[in-house]
């Protein structure tokens, strides 16, 4: 299970709504469904961190 990756989706929804989730999927290229199955590897976490930073920089 990828608890940390799912947390990123929850964070995106909280901060930017549904559009934020869709943009996060677009930026990470990993949908929330696939994120659930993906490992919380350092590489994946880095990808999501960078995507979140991009979302925040762009105002969602």
């Amino acid at each position: 299970m990828a608890a940390k990756l799912n947390d990123f989706y929850k964070q995106a929804a909280q901060e930017f709504g549904l559009a934020g989730r869709i943009k996060l999927a677009m930026l990470t290229k990993i949908s929330s469904e696939k994120a659930e199955a993906a490992p919380d590897s350092p590489e994946n976490i880095k990808i999501f961190q960078q995507a979140m930073a991009q979302l925040r920089a762009g105002g969602g």
Binding site: L18, R21, I22, K23, L24, A25, M26, L27, T28, K29, I30, S31, S32, E33, K34
Partner: protein, 267 residues
Amino acid sequence: MKISTKLIMFFCGVVTLFVLLAVALLAQTRSVSAGYDTLLARQVRQAEAARVIQVSFKKQVQEWKDILLRGHTPDDLAKYTRQFHEQQTAVSNGAETLAADMQDAECRDLLNQFVAAHKALGEKYQAAYDVYVGGSFDFKAADKEVRGKDRPPTDLFDQIVKRLNDDVAASVAAQARAVARARNLALALSGGLLAGLGLVGFVTVRTILQRLGRLKAVSDRLAKADIEGLSVDISGPDEIGQFGDSMKGVHAAIEELTKLASAAGQA
């Protein structure tokens, strides 16, 4: 490697190949030209000089016969005697000059033999001339002195001319063989390089088209929102790989949108 880089490299490869071929052809033309220049400057010139000496020697013998035939008239005697000596000097000088210029040792040796034989023949002609003039123009007595004596130097010089002509023919044949070798090498090299470039170009274009085909198939399914089981496995450092990477984002976004829409529908 990017497609644009591949195309630029391919273009540069083609241009370089043609420049190299042009340079090689230029060098080959110069080499052929230099080979024939050398041939004309030495061997052909020497063969030509030998032919001139050969003709002069025949004229000298002819002048001797004119002396015997028409020398009973003082004017003709003076005329043909002068012409005989002119030809004799031309032959002697020509043969000595040619011997000095000759690089072929055997030919030079033949020329030296001819010069000696010609000098000895000249002395015999002079003795016969003295018999002719001193014996009331008795051409039979004079002819008896030198009859057949011009044959050995003539045969000697025929050998020289034949040898020089054979040398020229051999050099021309060698030059033709060298030209054929260079031509075959140039054809093989340019053919090989063109075939190589053609193969590289074919493989590159085929790979690009195959990957573009896969990209189009993914794009078509995304356009129809047919994302069930869709996998965007197009990667690479080139423009198609980058486009495939963007497609992965679009795919993930559509998946997310579908999931949200589905969840909203259930709620």
